[in-house]
């Protein structure tokens, strides 16, 4: 019986090639989009599952409250891991990870500046799973000063050599290489190049802090491995005594408290916490899943519309099958098997399309998928499931509609012309165009928002400026020499030195701030700058004054705060002269008392994903001897140059920095660098979104094309009679336009509020965002109308120009 169904389906497809092509094309495109999205979503949900014990591994995040302000951070106190293992028998093991940037690597006479190195506990390989190319996990990091490299890094340093046993120098310390592991896979939330052992006692000395204060500094990620059969909740629910014992002593000194939360390893990639490694957004996955469903539904709608519109072509077959004994369920099965056949053919084509489109998709999504991924795990079953769903969605209504036709009605006349209820078809066209309008208007809103962020004033001038970074202390101490060398060039307008530059790092510190008659706890960002910094950055002073290098009193005492700080500390009137006590960087118990001499207008010192938070600028340099050397010694020189001399200045700076430090590669980037790629993910997603919107429009266009083609053919007689009765070609055109355009306009009216609601919600996730307006909806609707006009015009023009006699005779 199935053979008979398939034969009939195949011959029907061959008889109506245009409709078959439209259906196969739309279903293929729909399935292709869905396959790409399935790949993407599976990848996003597969993060960190390559670790054998992933179900028992959790990262602890800290919820720190200082000065009434809650900060949820992915970084935790250094002693947390060992203390947890000591206090809770459920904790089998812990591992701490410090990610290190700007490390100076020396191998023989070669030097490299590296990011994404990590200092880790000796227990790293007891918790995480990696495949070793050289060496073995057992004992790899148990000795002090040992290192494990990834394959890429090993290749970069040593070529094809097995480097196990070699030593290399990281920031003046020698490490022996004990193993080489495969590169961290794409679906790892951590992407490291090298693992180095940490030494706890050295680490503690580095901060020169009392042990209890060590709990107040958060710099590392803490992961715990739970014993089998135990739950992390049993630890978290009993943290009260733990907090009293470990957190309270240090916390009370800074007026802060901490609680810890645990995130399962598998979910880290989709859990956005401050200072966590780059994550993706859950709502992005949701949106992409919806887009995949939309694509499938829109393609299925085309099939449904064309199949029901063309039901008269199948009427006689249906009647005769019923007359010869087919039951309704057999006919439903027959028509569903037809749509499944079509969706299966489309699947094969879509796999070809996926193969062609994957390179482009990979570069857009920043992934490295191949066709092989489709056949890995259960993805192929998901895709087959989607294909069956597509076939089912496409065929379900036509099969019920067609199988319900009454043979008595069909057999009465040779030219049965009942088609599906026009209402449903109209509703489906409205639905299809509604979705297209939502996607196009959504895409336009995303674009507007990203443009707004790119063009948003930052509160300082990032134009025509380069930032030179000096990584090592030896050269940082001589930074004035470099500044002098640079200043000689006539193309250089000015220079300024600082510990940090905007969007390229900052410190958050717990301080006490003056409030009424007492000092209260607060959290504030800090940066050490020279007296030229404000002018060079073009940061505006709102109240008070900037730093004055002539005033010796400014050194060690004066600070500038931003408006956000004044607001947060309640210094609405007379902020000048207010004091901040920065206690914990000084061995002196009373701390360093700092006085506000000026208030700056807010400027974005972090990425635009963050609101402007309180910050203070402190005059740095060697004279600021109350502060530790690491803080007061500048790391960056910002150089403002003549706009038209960009390339020359870059060449000059490279040459000068090389002369200043001949062994190290110059690290020079535009001042806007920190802001340039901050919305890279959103931009890429926006582009993907735009492509899918376009695909939806194309599918809708083809669906309408097929429908218009059929309906105009079906109304040939009506057109003929109208023309005989005196109607002009123009009024025939209007007749058809009115019918289709009304549907598109209804779609616009329905889609408008939906897209408004969805996009307004999306925009709320941005700290800085545009307000939603109707323009994208109007533009998207206009596009939909234009598409409908073009589609319908082709057929109606032919129809309106026909000789009426032909049409009437044909009937």
């Amino acid at each position: 019986m199935i053979k008979n169904y398939l034969i009939s389906a195949w011959r029907n497809m061959m008889r109506s090639k245009l409709y078959t092509l439209i259906n196969i094309f739309c279903l293929s495109v729909g399935i292709t989009g869905a396959v790409l999205i399935v790949l993407y979503i599976n990848h996003e949900l597969s993060y960190d599952t390559h670790h054998q014990k992933h179900e028992r591994i959790f990262r602890l995040d800290g919820k720190y409250t200082i000065g009434g302000q809650l900060n949820h951070l992915a970084i935790t106190p250094f002693p947390l891991g060992p203390a947890l293992k000591l206090e809770f028998s459920q904790v089998e093991e812990y591992v701490r990870i410090f990610i290190q940037e700007n490390l100076l690597i020396r191998i023989d006479d070669k030097e490299f500046l590296e990011d994404d190195f990590a200092m880790v506990d000796t227990t790293y390989f007891d918790v995480f799973t990696h495949r070793f190319i050289h060496g073995q996990a057992h004992g790899a990091l148990t000795e002090p000063n040992t290192a494990v490299l990834t394959a890429s890094l090993s290749n970069k340093y040593f070529g094809d050599l097995n480097p196990v046993g070699y030593t290399f120098n990281v920031n003046q310390r020698n490490y022996q290489i004990t193993g080489v592991i495969e590169d961290f896979p794409d679906n790892s939330h951590l992407k490291l190049q090298c693992l180095l052992t940490i030494n706890q006692s050295e680490h503690q000395q580095f901060y020169s802090l009392a042990p209890e204060m060590f709990w107040a500094i958060n710099q590392n990620y803490t992961y715990v491995l739970m014993n089998e059969g135990t739950s992390i909740d049993s630890v978290l629910e009993n943290m009260e005594a733990f907090n009293d014992k470990y957190i309270a002593p240090g916390g009370s000194q800074i007026g802060g408290s901490a609680e810890f939360a645990a995130n399962p390893l598998r979910k880290l990639h989709l859990t956005s916490v401050m200072y966590a490694p780059k994550t993706n957004n859950r709502s992005t996955l949701l949106i992409f899943s919806m887009v995949a469903m939309f694509l499938i539904i829109i393609a299925a709608v085309n099939y449904t519309n064309l199949a029901t519109a063309r039901s008269s072509k199948r009427a006689r077959e249906i009647a005769m099958r019923k007359v010869t004994g087919a039951t309704r369920s057999q006919l439903i099965f027959q028509f569903l098997s037809e749509s499944l056949l079509l969706s299966s053919i489309s699947l094969v084509l879509s796999l070809l399309l996926v193969e062609i489109l994957l390179p482009g998709f990979n570069s857009l999504a920043d992934k490295s998928f191949s066709l092989r991924n489709i056949f890995a795990g259960n993805i192929i079953w998901q895709i087959i499931g989607l294909t069956v769903l597509t076939g089912f969605l496409s065929g379900i209504y036509p099969s019920f509609f067609l199988s319900n036709l009454k043979p008595v009605n069909i057999l009465k006349s040779a030219t049965f012309s009942k088609t599906s209820s026009g209402f449903l078809r109209k509703a489906l066209v409205i639905f299809q165009f509604g979705i297209s309008i939502i996607l196009v208007a959504g895409t336009l809103t995303v674009r507007n928002q990203l443009r707004f962020l790119q063009e948003k004033p930052l509160g300082f001038n990032p134009e025509n400026s380069y930032v030179i970074t000096i990584p090592d202390m030896e050269h940082r101490m001589q930074i004035e020499t470099l500044e002098n060398m640079i200043s000689q060039n006539p193309n250089i307008i000015g220079t300024a030195k600082s510990l940090y530059v905007p969007a390229m790092g900052h410190n958050m510190n717990a301080v006490k701030v003056q409030s009424e008659n007492e000092m209260v706890d607060a959290l504030i960002g800090t940066n050490f700058v020279d007296s030229e910094f404000l002018d060079l950055m073009e940061i505006t002073i709102k109240e008070g004054r900037g730093f004055d290098k002539e005033l010796r009193g400014d050194i060690n005492h004066a600070i500038l705060i931003n408006e956000a700080a004044a607001r947060q500390f309640g210094w609405h009137e007379e902020p000048i002269g207010k004091t901040i006590n920065w206690q914990y960087i000084s061995s002196d118990e009373s701390g360093i008392r700092l006085t506000v001499v000026g208030v700056m207008k807010d400027f974005n010192f972090q990425s635009l994903k963050n609101p402007v938070e309180p910050i203070m600028l402190i005059l740095g340099g060697q004279a600021a001897d109350q502060f530790s050397e690491n803080l007061r010694t500048f790391r960056h020189i910002t150089v403002r140059y003549n706009a038209r001399k960009d390339a020359e200045v870059m060449a000059f700076l490279e040459e000068t920095v090389r002369a200043f430090d001949p062994v190290r590669m110059p690290n020079i980037v535009p001042l806007s660098h920190g802001f340039s790629d901050q919305f890279g993910t959103e931009e890429r997603q926006g582009t993907i979104f735009a492509i899918f919107a376009l695909v939806c429009i194309i599918i809708s266009f083809l669906g309408l094309f097929g429908l218009a083609s059929f309906l105009t053919e079906q109304r040939k007689k009506e057109v003929g009679i109208r023309k005989v009765l005196g109607s002009s070609g123009y009024s025939i055109l209007i007749l058809f336009y009115r019918e289709f355009l009304t549907l598109v306009l209804i779609a616009a009216v329905v889609a408008g509020p939906v897209v408004w609601f969805l996009m307004e919600k999306w925009l709320q996730d941005f700290v800085y965002h545009i307000s939603m307006n109707v323009l994208p909806i109007v533009l998207a609707s206009t596009l939909a109308v234009a598409v409908a006009v073009i589609t319908v015009s082709y057929h109606t023009l032919i129809s309106s120009r026909q000789n009426p006699v032909d049409a009437i005779r044909a009937e």
């Binding site: 077959e317 019923k322 087919a326 039951t327």
Partner: protein, 233 residues
């Protein structure tokens, strides 16, 4: 085999009510060849549809093979129909996308015959109707007479008790028409009951009895001898 009692069919639209059959009562015995005649719109095809279990009457009773079937569901009717009734239509109603063989095979598929049994039966009937040489052709490649012969093959392949023919020669020239009527006659002689709707006196002359309808009612029931006498006088 067939008995109707006060069979009535009313078609209703929002504004108009049309009585297509009005209390039609008659009986047809197994092995009979009955022609139903009457002017256009008198209810011939409606009656045939109800007799063929394609439609239910609005009221009245219909006994088919001793079963009262007037209230049967579509599924019950389909089940009874496929086992017992074959149809021949004026416009052949072959499925264009299926070949001659596949068209004839269709009733056997729905009866659940195995592939080999179907092949045997279809080839038998195609041979019998002398259309075997066209088994792989499609309906549109055949002449009208050939198409109707295929339709008859399809109607008889499942060996039904009853064949309903709705103006079987209406679209054929006289030569092909005679050919089809001879086929029906020979089927009747081999025991199949045949009910045929026709406008043609020539075709009706093949039947043993004529039921005449007018405005949905039976006006006369003639034995063919009476009819022959009536037409000759």
């Amino acid at each position: 085999m067939i008995k109707t009692v006060d069979l009535t069919k009313i078609f209703r639209t929002e504004e108009v009510e049309t009585t297509a059959l009005n209390q039609v009562s008659f009986e047809i015995k197994e092995g009979e060849f009955v022609a139903i005649m009457g002017p256009s719109g008198c209810g011939k095809s409606t009656l045939l549809n109800i007799l063929g279990l394609l439609d239910n009457p609005s009221s009245g009773k219909y006994y088919f093979l001793e079963n009262e079937v007037s209230k049967f569901s579509e599924k019950q009717r389909a089940n009874l129909r496929k086992r017992n009734i074959g149809f021949v239509f004026q416009n052949f109603n072959l499925i264009d996308e299926l070949s001659v063989f596949e068209n004839v095979e269709l009733p056997l598929i729905y009866l659940g015959y195995s592939s080999s049994e179907r092949k045997k039966r279809v080839e038998e009937v195609l041979e019998q109707m002398q259309i075997m040489h066209r088994r792989n052709h499609f309906p549109l490649q055949l002449s009208g007479g050939q198409q109707q012969r295929v339709a008859v093959c399809r109607a008889v392949v499942a060996k039904p008790h009853l064949i309903l023919a709705d103006e079987p020669t209406g679209n054929l020239d006289s030569t092909h028409g005679d050919e089809v009527m001879n086929l029906l006659e020979s089927l009747n002689k081999s025991g199949t009951t045949i009910i045929m709707v026709t406008h043609s006196h020539r075709d009706a002359s093949y039947a043993q009895r004529i039921v005449r309808l007018f405005d949905g009612q039976i006006v006369t029931e003639d034995k063919i001898t009476d009819f022959a006498l009536a037409t000759s006088s």
